[in-house]
C-alpha cells in the first residue's frame, strides 16, 4: 500500500511538469501580447501616440517581464526562418516578415528545423527563477503582468474564499445527501422518496446562474423577503477592528447562506440520488438478508454494512468534484460578489496574465492529482477486496 502511495507521489512531478508545460506553451502562444494591454488605455481624447519613447518603454517592460526571451528550451520552425524570429514581438510585423520569408525561400519552407534556445527562456525562468522571481520550485509564481504584484499575494485571499466555500459545500452536500439517500433507499415507494426524487431531479436540472438570481430575488428583495444581504461576504463597513476569527465568521454567516446554497444544491441532488441507488442495490444482496436474519437492527445494517459497501461511487464523485475547490465558480462569485478564484481566473485569462493563469493551472493540477490519490486510498479502505498491485 505505502509503496503504491510513494509511486503515485513519484508520478506527481512529471505529471505536474507536463500540465504546466502544456498550459505555458498554449498561453504564451495565444494571440496578442500582455505589454500591449499595459500600454493601451481606453481613453481617447488624450495624447497617447506610438512614439519612440513608447517603443523604448515596451522593450524595457518586455525585458522586465521576461517576454523578450523564447518561450521554451527549443522551438520547431522551418529551415527558412531565422533562429531569432522570437525577438519580433509585433504581430503585424511578424506576419509580414514570415510572408516575405515564405515568398523568398522556396523549398526551405517545407523542411522542419529544431532551434535550441538553451536555458535562457521564459519557461525556465518561470520554473527556476531569475531576474525578479525565485521560480515556482521555490514557491514563487512570479509577478503578475497586469497588476505587477507577486502572484502569491494576489491569489492568496481569493484562494481562501474559494476553498472555504467549496470545502464547506462539499461537506454539506455529503452530510445532507447521504441521510436523504438512505431514507429514500429504505422505502423507495414512500411519499418522501417520490417527492424527494422529484425535487432532486429539479435541483439537478437548474443552472446555478438561475438559482443564484432566484435566491436573491426571493430572499434578499424588500419586495418579497429581505432576510439575507444581496451581495458580498461581510458587512459594508467591514469587520470590527479587533474582531476574532469566530466573531468574523458569525458576522459573515448571513452573507454565506445564499452562496452556499448555490454552491451545494447541484452536487447535493446528484449525491443523494447516487446514494439512494447504490444503497438500494446493496439492500438486495444476500449479506444484508443474512444480517437481518441474524437479528441485526436496521440502523446498523444500513450505516455500518450497506453504506460502506456502497461508498465506491461516492468516492468517485468526490474525486471529480474536489479539484474544483481551487477554480472557484465564476457565476456564483459574480452574482454574490465573492472575491474568489473564479473571477480572478477569468480576469487573468482576458488580460493574458499568464503567470496567474499558470499558477491556477498548477494548483488545480496538484489538487486533482491529490484527489485521485486520496480516492484510490479510500477505495482500498472501504473495500479490502480491491487489491492495489504494487
Amino acid at each position: 500500500m505505502w509503496i503504491y502511495v510513494l509511486k503515485r507521489f513519484f508520478w506527481f512531478v512529471p505529471t505536474l511538469f507536463a500540465v504546466t508545460l502544456i498550459g505555458f506553451v498554449l498561453l504564451t502562444n495565444a494571440p496578442g501580447e500582455a505589454v500591449d494591454s499595459l500600454v493601451m488605455s481606453s481613453n481617447s481624447g488624450g495624447s497617447i501616440k506610438t512614439t519612440q519613447d513608447l517603443e523604448q518603454q515596451k522593450i524595457y517592460w518586455r525585458k522586465q517581464l521576461g517576454l523578450n526571451l523564447p518561450s521554451f528550451y527549443f522551438s520547431i520552425s522551418t529551415l527558412a526562418e531565422p533562429d531569432t524570429l522570437y525577438k519580433v514581438y509585433d504581430e503585424t510585423l511578424l506576419r509580414k516578415i514570415k510572408q516575405d520569408i515564405k515568398n523568398k525561400s522556396g523549398y526551405k519552407n517545407y523542411l522542419p528545423k529544431i532551434i535550441w534556445h538553451g536555458y535562457h527562456n521564459q519557461y525556465h525562468r518561470w520554473l527556476f527563477g531569475g531576474y525578479n522571481s525565485k521560480g515556482i520550485i521555490r514557491g514563487d509564481f512570479g509577478l503578475s503582468i497586469s497588476k505587477k504584484e507577486p502572484v502569491v499575494v494576489i491569489i492568496k485571499d481569493k484562494l481562501i474564499w474559494s476553498l472555504f466555500f467549496s470545502i464547506l459545500s462539499i461537506i454539506l452536500a455529503y452530510a445532507i445527501s447521504i441521510p436523504i439517500g438512505i431514507k429514500m433507499a429504505q422505502n423507495p415507494e414512500s411519499k418522501f422518496s417520490k417527492t424527494s426524487q422529484f425535487i432532486l431531479f429539479l435541483m439537478y436540472s437548474l443552472p446555478s446562474f438561475f438559482v443564484g438570481v432566484l435566491l436573491l430575488m426571493l430572499f434578499a428583495n424588500p419586495n418579497v423577503l429581505s432576510i439575507f444581504p444581496p451581495s458580498g461576504i461581510k458587512p459594508i463597513g467591514g469587520y470590527e477592528d479587533n474582531a476574532s476569527l469566530i466573531e468574523k465568521f458569525i458576522v459573515s454567516i448571513p452573507y454565506m447562506i445564499l452562496p452556499l446554497i448555490c454552491y451545494t444544491y447541484s452536487s447535493l441532488a446528484f449525491i443523494s440520488k447516487l446514494t439512494a441507488t447504490s444503497i438500494q442495490e446493496q439492500l438486495q444482496l444476500d449479506y444484508i438478508k443474512t444480517a437481518r436474519a441474524k437479528g441485526l437492527n436496521e440502523k446498523t445494517i444500513i450505516w455500518k454494512h450497506a453504506l460502506k459497501n456502497s461508498a465506491l461511487p461516492l468516492i468517485t464523485v468526490f474525486s471529480s468534484i474536489f479539484p474544483s475547490i481551487v477554480g472557484g465558480s465564476v457565476i456564483i462569485e459574480s452574482i454574490f460578489t465573492i472575491p474568489g478564484m473564479g473571477l480572478e481566473t477569468v480576469r487573468a485569462i482576458i488580460s493574458q496574465d499568464y503567470p496567474i493563469v499558470i499558477a491556477i493551472i498548477t494548483l488545480s493540477s496538484i489538487v486533482t492529482i491529490f484527489s485521485y490519490l486520496l480516492a484510490d486510498i479510500l477505495y482500498a479502505w472501504v473495500d479490502p477486496r480491491i487489491r492495489i498491485t504494487t
Binding site: A30, G32, D36, S37, V39, M40, S41, S42, N43, S44, G45, G46, S47, I48, K49, T50, D53, L54, Q56, Q57, Y60, W61, D90, E91, T92, S146, K147, K148, E149, D157, K158, I176, V213, L216, M217, A220, N221, P222, N223, S226, I227, F228, P229, S231, I233, P235, I236, G238, V251, I253, P254, S334, I335, F336, T337, P339, G340, L343, I350, Q352
Partner: protein, 576 residues
C-alpha cells in the same frame, strides 16, 4: 433530522439579526462596478483610480465641472504662458500642506514629473502624456514658483495636469535620489544603466506596497484611503484638521461625508437589490434595464433621485477603409458604400431596444455635449431605399440571384459578406451586432457575428485585420487631440486609427488644431475637421452614452455633471 432543523433555525436567527446592516451616519456608500488595478500614485490608468484620486489627491489644475474650464487647484492661478507657447509660469498657493504639515512646493511638482518620466517607473501607458515636458525650473528664491518648459506648443499642455496627482517628494523619495538628476537623464536608457541608485529607487517606488497598502498612500486631498478590502470595498476617510477646511468654496476641498465606502458589485441583479435595500447611496453604473425598473418603482423613487446624465463617450461601428484585399476584401473603400451602411443602421430601433431610448445620436468624432461640436452636421437616418440606391451606384448588384450582392473588384468577383467584430462578454454589443446584421440583410448584405476577447479584438483592429468592428470611445471636456484616432500616422503605426481614415489635408488640420492655443481658432478648425470625417463616414456614428445616476435622498447638494464621474462624492452632504 432534528439536528439539521436546529442548525437551520440558528442560521435564520443570525440572518434576521445580521442581514442588511446599514452603515453609520455620514457614511456614503457608493456602487463600484470594478475595482482599480492599483492605487499607485503614478502607475495606473483606470477610470475608478482617477475618480478616487479626485478625493485623495490634488493636481496642479483641476476641471471646473460646471463650466468645463480649467480651475487652479494647487496653482494660485492659471499659468502665464510665453508668447512661443513653450514656457508655463506657475505659482503655488501658500496654505496647502501635506499630511505631515510640510508645505507643498515646486520641488514636489518637479519630483512628480521626474517620477512619471523616468524610464524605470512602471507607468508605461502614461509616459507619452509626459513626453512633451522638457524640464521644470524651480525659482531659486521662491520654492512656490516654477516654470514648465515644453518641447512643443500643444493644446493639452495645461489640460493634461488635471489628470495627474502631485505627489510628495519627501514621502516617495526619502533619500532625495531624483533631485540629483535631470528629466533628460531620467529618460536616457544608456545613462540609466550606469546609475544603480535610480534603479534602486524605482524598484522601491514600483513595489506593490505603494499600489495596494493604504499605509503607503499619501496625497494632498481631503480624504485618505484607510482600507482596501480587495474584491469587496475601498474605504476613504476624511482627514482631521486638514487645511482644506478653510477653502470650502472649491469643490476639491470639500469633504462632507466622514467616510466614503466604494462597494464593489459587478452583478446588476444584486446591485439592484442593494439599492432597493438602501445599502447603497450612490450608483452611476447600473444597467439601463435596472435603471428603468427602479424608476418605475414608486417606493424606491420616494427615497432616491434617479437622473439620466449626458457623457462625452460615444459608440461607433468602424469600417476598414484600407483592407489588404486578400484576407479582407475591399468592401468599404468607397464612401458611397460606407454611407449606405450608415443609412442601413436602424438607430431608433437600437436606441429603443438596447438603451431604453435614452441615448442621443452622434454624427462625428466628438460628442454633441462638447463646445466645439459642429451643429451643422445632421445625423444620417435609417433609409433602406436610399442605401440600396447608393450601393447600386457603387456597382453592387446581385448578379447571380443568390440573395447576396456582388461586384467585380480587381478582376475578382467579390460577394458583399463580412464579419462584424465585437468584444465578447457584452450582451449589448452582441445584440447591437445582431440588429445590424439583420438590417444589412435587407439590402442583400450577408453578415457574420465575430465575438472576440479583448486581445483578439484589439489586435484585429490595430492590425487592420477586420471588416467592421463595434466599440466605444471614452472622452472628457478636455480639448480633442484628433491625432490619436484620426491621423494617417496612427494607421501606419498600428495605432488607434483603425479604419485608415486620413489624408494630407486632414493630417494638416489635426496638426493645426493641436497647436491652436487660441480657443476660438481651435473650435473653428475642429468643426472643419468634423466635417471632413462626416463626409468620409469611416465610422457609423451611433450614440453618446448616458450615465444612470441614482442618489439617495438622504444626501443633499446633488449636482450632476457631464464629465466623469458624473457626481462628485465629496460634495454630497447628509441631510439634517
Amino acid at each position: 433530522m432534528k439536528f439539521l432543523l436546529y442548525i437551520l433555525l440558528f442560521i435564520l436567527s443570525i440572518a434576521f439579526t445580521g442581514s442588511c446592516k446599514k452603515t453609520q451616519n455620514n457614511t456614503l456608500v457608493v456602487h463600484l462596478l470594478s475595482e482599480p488595478e492599483d492605487m499607485h500614485p503614478t502607475n495606473g490608468a483606470s477610470a475608478v483610480r482617477a475618480e478616487i484620486n479626485l478625493y485623495t489627491n490634488l493636481s496642479l489644475l483641476r476641471l471646473n465641472y460646471k463650466t468645463g474650464e480649467l480651475l487652479p487647484c494647487l496653482a494660485k492661478s492659471l499659468p502665464v504662458v510665453s508668447s512661443d507657447g513653450l514656457n508655463y509660469n506657475y505659482e503655488l498657493k501658500s496654505d496647502m500642506t501635506w499630511d505631515d504639515k510640510s508645505p507643498i512646493t515646486a520641488h514636489d511638482i518637479a519630483f512628480t514629473t521626474k517620477a512619471s518620466k523616468c524610464l524605470y517607473t512602471n507607468n508605461i501607458g502614461l509616459k507619452p502624456y509626459w513626453e512633451n515636458i522638457d524640464d521644470i525650473i524651480v525659482d531659486n528664491n521662491n520654492d512656490k514658483k516654477f516654470t514648465i518648459k515644453m518641447k512643443r506648443p500643444y493644446i493639452l499642455n495645461t489640460w493634461f495636469w488635471t489628470d495627474f496627482p502631485i505627489i510628495q517628494a519627501t514621502f516617495y523619495d526619502k533619500k532625495n535620489v531624483l533631485a540629483k538628476y535631470s528629466n533628460a537623464q531620467l529618460t536616457d536608457s544608456t545613462f540609466l544603466k550606469s546609475k544603480p541608485d535610480i534603479k534602486q529607487w524605482a524598484d522601491e517606488f514600483n513595489s506593490p506596497k505603494y499600489s495596494t497598502d493604504p499605509q503607503f498612500m499619501s496625497g494632498a486631498g481631503p480624504y485618505k484611503i484607510t482600507k482596501w478590502d480587495k474584491g469587496v470595498s475601498i474605504t476613504l476617510e476624511k482627514k482631521k484638521d486638514h487645511w482644506s477646511e478653510n477653502c470650502q468654496e472649491n469643490w476639491y476641498c470639500q469633504a462632507n461625508a466622514d467616510k466614503i465606502i466604494l462597494k464593489l458589485n459587478s452583478n446588476n441583479a444584486s446591485a439592484l437589490l442593494e439599492l432597493k435595500n438602501g445599502l447603497i447611496d450612490v450608483s452611476t453604473m447600473i444597467d439601463y434595464a435596472s435603471f428603468t425598473e427602479l424608476s418605475k418603482d414608486d417606493k424606491f423613487t420616494q427615497n432616491f433621485t434617479l437622473k439620466l446624465a449626458d457623457t462625452y463617450n460615444y459608440t461607433y461601428v468602424a469600417m476598414n477603409m484600407k483592407p489588404d484585399g486578400k484576407t479582407h476584401k475591399k468592401l468599404f473603400t468607397d464612401v458611397a458604400v460606407r454611407k449606405a451602411m450608415a443609412l442601413l443602421t436602424p438607430y431608433d430601433q437600437i436606441n429603443k431596444t438596447l438603451y431604453e431610448n435614452n441615448n442621443k445620436r452622434v454624427v462625428g468624432p466628438i460628442s454633441p455635449n462638447k463646445i466645439d461640436f459642429n451643429t451643422d452636421l445632421k445625423p444620417l437616418q435609417y433609409n433602406v431605399n436610399q442605401a440600396k440606391e447608393l450601393l447600386k451606384q457603387a456597382g453592387w448588384a446581385d448578379t447571380d440571384n443568390d440573395q447576396v450582392l456582388d461586384k467585380m473588384i480587381d478582376g475578382e468577383k467579390v460577394k458583399f459578406e463580412f464579419n462584424i467584430n465585437f468584444m465578447s462578454g457584452s450582451k449589448v454589443w452582441e445584440d447591437l451586432a445582431k440588429q445590424l446584421a439583420e438590417s444589412f440583410g435587407k439590402a442583400n448584405i450577408y453578415v457574420m457575428l465575430n465575438p472576440l476577447d479583448y486581445n483578439g479584438f484589439f489586435n484585429a483592429v490595430t492590425g487592420h485585420q477586420f471588416d467592421m468592428s463595434i466599440s466605444a470611445w471614452q472622452s472628457s471636456a478636455t480639448p480633442e487631440d484628433f491625432s490619436q484616432l484620426w491621423s494617417s500616422a496612427s494607421w501606419t503605426n498600428n495605432g488607434l486609427n483603425f479604419t485608415g481614415f486620413g489624408s494630407a489635408q486632414s493630417d494638416a488640420l489635426i496638426d493645426s488644431i493641436n497647436i491652436s492655443v487660441n480657443e476660438t481658432k481651435r473650435i473653428e478648425l475642429s468643426k472643419r475637421f468634423q466635417k471632413l470625417v462626416y463626409d468620409e463616414q469611416p465610422y457609423i456614428f451611433m450614440f453618446t452614452q448616458t450615465r444612470r445616476v441614482i442618489v439617495s435622498k438622504k444626501w443633499d447638494n446633488l449636482v450632476i455633471y457631464t464629465e466623469y464621474p458624473g457626481v462628485l462624492l465629496n460634495t454630497l452632504k447628509l441631510k439634517d
